[in-house]
Symmetry: C2
Subunit: 107 residues, 2 copies
């Protein structure tokens, strides 16, 4: 077993550690499946928005709504003990994909 | 009302359109609240993984597990009618944040 020199005492990697790691990872895998399905549902809705916007020649992006969404999600993140800065990055990541879809619908 | 010249006939923006847009947006807002809470739960688990890894001097990143996660999530995305390329981008986005947390735990 290799230990790095340093001030920290390192615990050996036992079967218990490995079992604990595997158990947590199984939960993470369940959560990821939930996230994928919830995201799929979200994009179904945003595609409907995209079609409505294209039909009515409304602009693909809506900065005022995005501002309200960011404020709300940061507050929800704080309550849920999630980094609000991450919640904002996450929404921006999703919105970038949504705008790409809206532009596809229009083109 | 402004109409762009072109081959597409654009429908006017009526109260019905606005009401439909608002209804879809209310669903999107519910979905986003769900996503924030599920993500908060995911990071609780990955922080536990990070502490275990730091205690046992295991490397923060695990490319083999990531490969398996990406393959699985792309398959789940296909089933859910979500772009598999987006599912991969999404997991990479989350993992980048997780690795940042793991490095924080270690430092």
């Amino acid at each position: 077993m290799m230990h790095r020199p340093g001030h920290r005492r390192l615990a050996p990697v036992t079967d218990t550690t490995r079992a604990e790691l595997e158990e947590i990872r199984a939960s993470i895998d369940n959560i990821d499946a939930a996230l994928i399905h919830v995201l799929a549902e979200r994009f179904k809705y945003t595609k409907r928005v995209g079609r409505l916007k294209a039909e009515h020649d409304l602009p693909p992006a809506d900065p005022e709504r995005e501002e309200r969404q960011i404020t709300r999600l940061k507050a929800l993140a704080l309550e849920a003990d999630l980094d609000p800065a991450f919640a904002e990055k996450f929404l921006n990541f999703i919105i970038a994909e949504v705008i790409r879809h809206h532009e596809d619908i229009r083109s």
